[in-house]
Symmetry: none
Subunit: 263 residues, 2 copies
C-alpha cells in the first residue's frame, strides 16, 4: 500500500503536469483536480477553458482539492502549456492512425517516472470532453496514451481518464520501472530530451523554410504535411543537441538560397 516513497512524492508534488486542453465543464476540471491530488499530483494546466478561469464549479467539484485548483495555470495554446516539458503523452480514446507510439496508462506511468527521476519535466494531455485532442495537439506529444476499454463504450469521463493515469503514476511510485519508453537511453547534459519550446522552434523554422520554397503548397495540404512531419520528429525523442543539429541542417540547406536570392 502507500509506502514511504509514494508519500514523499505525494507531499513534494514533483509529478507530471496534467494538461486539460479546452475543457468544457467546470465540474470536470474539479473532478480532475481531486483525482490529481488523490494521486499526489499538483501541476494542473488549462488550455483555453471554455467557461473561463477561475471557475466556481471547478472549485466545488474538487471537493477539497483547492490547492490544485488555485495553483492551476491557464494558457491560450497547447504549445505554450507544454513549452517547458521534455516528455509529453497525449491521451486519445483510440489510435488515430497517426504514426506515433501508443502506450497504455501503465507504460506511460513508467515512462513518466523515468523522466522525472532523470530530472526532466513531463506531462500528459487530455482533450475536450466531446471531441478529444486535435491532431495538432497530438503532434506536440512524444507518444499517445490510450486506455484499453470496452470497445463498445469507450468514451470515458475526463476525470476518470485523469484518475487512471494518476492511479498508475501513484502505484508506480513504489515499483521498479519495467518496459521501454521514449527517451530511455538518453543521458544527462547536452543529451537531455529537448524542451518542447525548442522543438517547436525547430518545427517553425523548418515550416517557414518549407513555405518559402513552396513545399507546403497547395494550402489545403499544409496542415497534413506539417503534422506528419512534426509527428515523425516527435517519435524520435530528440535531444537538445539533435534539435540544434537539425536547425543547422535546415539553415545549411537553405543558406545558398539566401545568397542566390541576393545575387
Amino acid at each position: 500500500m502507500a509506502g514511504t516513497d509514494a508519500s514523499k512524492r505525494a507531499e513534494a508534488g514533483g509529478g507530471p503536469a496534467i494538461v486539460l486542453v479546452r475543457p468544457q465543464l467546470g465540474e470536470n476540471i474539479g473532478f480532475a483536480a481531486r483525482a490529481m491530488l488523490n494521486c499526489g499530483l499538483t501541476d494542473l494546466r488549462l488550455v483555453a477553458p471554455r467557461d473561463g478561469w477561475p471557475n466556481d464549479k471547478a472549485r466545488a467539484a474538487s471537493a477539497g482539492g483547492d490547492r490544485v485548483i488555485q495553483g492551476a495555470r491557464v494558457y491560450a495554446e497547447t504549445a505554450e502549456a507544454v513549452a517547458d516539458l521534455n516528455l509529453v503523452y497525449a491521451t486519445t480514446a483510440r489510435p488515430r492512425g497517426m504514426a506515433a507510439d501508443v502506450v497504455s496508462p501503465r507504460e506511460a506511468a513508467a515512462g513518466l517516472h523515468r523522466a522525472v527521476d532523470a530530472g526532466q519535466a513531463a506531462g500528459v494531455l487530455f482533450g475536450p470532453e466531446r471531441s478529444g485532442l486535435t491532431n495538432d495537439d497530438i503532434a506536440l506529444a512524444d507518444a499517445i496514451m490510450t486506455v484499453p476499454l470496452n470497445p463498445g463504450f469507450s468514451s470515458i469521463q475526463l476525470g476518470h481518464a485523469v484518475m487512471i493515469l494518476g492511479y498508475e503514476w501513484f502505484q508506480a511510485c513504489e515499483e521498479t520501472a519495467p518496459a521501454e519508453t521514449p527517451n530511455e537511453t538518453l543521458a544527462e547534459g547536452k543529451n537531455r530530451p529537448v524542451a518542447k519550446a525548442d522543438l517547436i522552434g525547430f518545427f517553425e523554422h523548418l515550416e517557414r523554410e518549407l513555405d518559402a520554397c513552396g513545399f507546403l503548397h497547395p494550402p489545403e495540404m499544409r496542415p497534413t504535411i506539417t503534422r506528419n512531419l512534426r509527428t515523425l520528429f516527435q517519435r524520435a525523442s530528440l535531444t537538445d543537441r539533435e534539435v540544434r543539429t537539425l536547425r543547422g541542417v535546415v539553415a545549411g540547406l537553405t543558406s545558398h538560397r539566401d545568397r542566390g536570392d541576393k545575387e
Copy 2:
C-alpha cells in the same frame, strides 16, 4: 489494446457485480454506471439508494450507460445484495483494523477473474460517499480492497473508485496481449516501415546536400555528424511514406539553391 478476450467478455457482461451501498447522489450512481460499461461490467446493484430509484440524475450522468442503469437491481440490505455471490471484496479508504485480508485493486481484479473463470459469482462493495462502508457491511466480504493513494488526500469520488476497480478488471482480461511497439498499429502499404535501402537512399540524398552547403565541414567532423543524423532518424521508425516526405523536404529546401547557382 482491446483484445478478443476482453471484447468477448465486455459483450457477455459476465464480470463481477458492482454493489453501491446506500449511495447518496444520483450523479455518482450515473458516473459509476458509465465507468462500469467502459470496463465491460453491467451488473449494478444498489442497496437503499438515498434518493430512491429510478433516478433521473443517475441516468443523465451515465452519459449513455442506460443499459447498466436500467438493469440495476435495488435491495434493502447489503446482505440481500450479495446473497448469490461467492466472492466479495469491500472497498475502504484505509484498513479498519479488521482482521480481514487487504488487497490492492490489481490483486482484487486477479481474484475476481479467478472466481469468475471458475464459474463463481463475484462482486465488489462500495460505501456511501461520506461515511464509507460500515463494519457490518465489511463483515460480509471475503477481503478488503484499498486503493493506495496520497495519504494526505485519500477521499476519492465514488465513480473514480468504481473506475479503478473496473479498469484493473479490464486490464486483467487481456493480460496476455502483447505490448505495443513502435509502428505496431500502422497499416500495410504506404504506412509500412521503410525498407532500409530506401532509408539509406534518403540518408545519402541528405548528406550529399549537406556536403554541398558546407554543413559537414571540417571533414574530420563528417562521420560524427552523419552518424548522429542517421541515428536520430532511425530512432523514429520511419514509414515508407515518411521517407518520401523527407526526401521531398530536402529537395524543396535546396531547390532555390540550384536556381540560385544557375543564375
